[in-house]
Amino acid sequence: MNILLLVISAIFVNNFVLARFLGICPFLGVSKKLSTALGMTGAVMFVMTLASIASWLVYHLLLKPFDLVFLQTISFILIIASMVQLVELALQKLSPPLYRSLGIFLPLITTNCAVLGCAVLVVQNDYSLIQTTVFALAAAVGFGLSLVLFSGIREVLALADTPKSFRGTAIALVTAGILSLSFMGFAGLVK
């Protein structure tokens, strides 16, 4: 039951993008097309899960025993950066169109607060390794859910007769706000 609550919490109640406001940069940057959003979701899922597990291992096996907890942030960033590099290299080879459409946002996962936030939260909440894996995966799913929903809306908005001054990021931010408002309905589902 605990695991289920963890999943619901990470996907809906404390959705990384819409409730915690983490990872806004790729949320706005790669949500113009559904296919790109799906690709980004995959990349984030991979990086987030592996990075969280690696961070957990580093934290519990190295930092804590050697009393080096103050190195938490820098070592996590190191882990995430190498993960992202790996994904980037792989994508460039395996799916060039996706690589091109993700553009600058792929390397930007490196400094993505959602991924770092996930690693930090895992440590902060003192999750076990299994909990960490589930939480990271669910958080990535939540990120993906909001990204996919949002890209669906933006594809339709691209066809709308939006006033010139609101086109692009402006209207996207307003829409994200309303989406976030509606996600507040999930508040209280997990106490």
Binding site: I153, E155, L157, P163, I171, V174, T175, L181, G185, G188
Partner: protein, 327 residues
């Protein structure tokens, strides 16, 4: 034979086919929606008195004024006559407590028309139902004012909605039996606390059925919405009647009726395919039931519809009808 000469080609209209039209237009659709809301409005006036009238007038005038202002600011043709701002105004008013202060209503109007509709390019392009955007916005920004419900008949007193009373009791560890539940008759007629337009289930049902009869809304969304809510709340009630109220209570209380018949059927923000409408209705029902049963808010209809509005593009994408002759 002289008539032959009256034809001057330059006066002839040329357009692409078809050359005839069914005669239905946006204005008449919107007008019918307003007509369908009249019974519920009258009950609201009767139950809550003059303050409800005040809220309605403020909301409608406010919405029209904001629409006019946005048209001017954005340099667009006037869209006041398409009645859509009036519908938004009426629905917004019906979703507010009858004792709402004037500024709350006006903020609602600005959010609904300005943020919910105009900046997307006006009617037809808004992804979210404008009235619901405003309601949820107000609910989160001004929780106190938005949950100060007048008790019918007693002007000065305030209390909880039927659903709110249940949620509070259960969260305090009591059982449903300890709560003085509103009777089904009260819920049907509307002599209970709540937003001024949502209290009378019967009047709303009447309006909804009339819209259905007129062919303005399609059956899929309201029926799927209501049935799904009934189904899930019903299962919960069967399992644990001490902590969950009966599905009938859920059916007639809160915003389910106005939501299912009038808000979830808003054409602009819901799927265009019939299969999609079915999914939309089911999704609304599931979310409503989940929020009502386990969420922090006593009422989930507005959130459910807004959330499903967000999924509309995806639903449309994956429920396209089969092209004729395609295997």
């Amino acid at each position: 034979m002289d008539d032959k000469s009256t034809i001057t080609p330059r006066d002839l209209i040329v357009s692409a086919s078809p050359h005839i039209h069914s005669g239905q237009d946006v204005r008449s659709i919107m007008r019918h929606v307003v007509y369908a809301l009249i019974p519920a409005l009258l009950i609201g006036f009767w139950v809550f008195g003059l303050s409800a009238v005040k809220v309605l007038v403020l909301a409608v005038v406010g919405c029209l004024a904001v629409e006019w202002g946005c048209n001017k600011l954005l340099n667009r043709e006037s869209s006041l006559l398409d009645f859509s701002a009036i519908v938004t105004g009426v629905l917004l008013a019906m979703n507010l407590p009858s004792g709402s202060p004037w500024w709350l209503v006006l903020v609602g109007a600005i959010v609904a028309i300005g943020l919910g509709k105009a900046i997307y390019g006006g009617l037809g392009y808004n992804p979210f139902n404008p009235a619901l955007v405003a309601r949820v916005f107000l609910l989160i920004s001004f929780p106190v004012q938005m949950t100060t419900w007048s008790i019918p008949g007693v002007d000065a007193e305030t209390g909880a909605t039927p659903l709110g009373a249940v949620k509070e009791a259960v969260s305090l560890g009591k059982t449903v039996m300890d709560v003085d539940l509103a009777t089904t008759k009260d819920l049907l007629i509307g002599t209970v606390g709540g937003s001024f337009g949502e209290v009378s289930a019967l009047a709303l049902l009447l309006g909804g059925l009339w819209l259905l009869y007129k062919g303005i809304i399609k059956w899929q969304i309201p029926i799927a919405f209501i049935a799904t809510t009934l189904f899930i709340t019903g299962i919960a009630w069967l399992i644990d009647p001490a902590h969950y109220v009966s599905p009938v209570f859920h059916l007639f209380s809160g915003g389910l009726m106005i939501g299912a018949w009038f808000m979830a059927t808003d054409m602009v923000t819901t799927p265009v395919t019939q299969k999609g409408m079915l999914f939309f209705g089911i999704g609304c029902g599931v979310l409503t039931a989940v929020i009502r049963l386990w969420g922090g808010y006593p009422e989930g209809v507005s959130f459910a519809i807004l959330l499903m509005n967000a999924t509309t593009p995806l639903i449309d994408r994956y429920t396209k009808p089969k092209v004729f002759g395609e295997a």
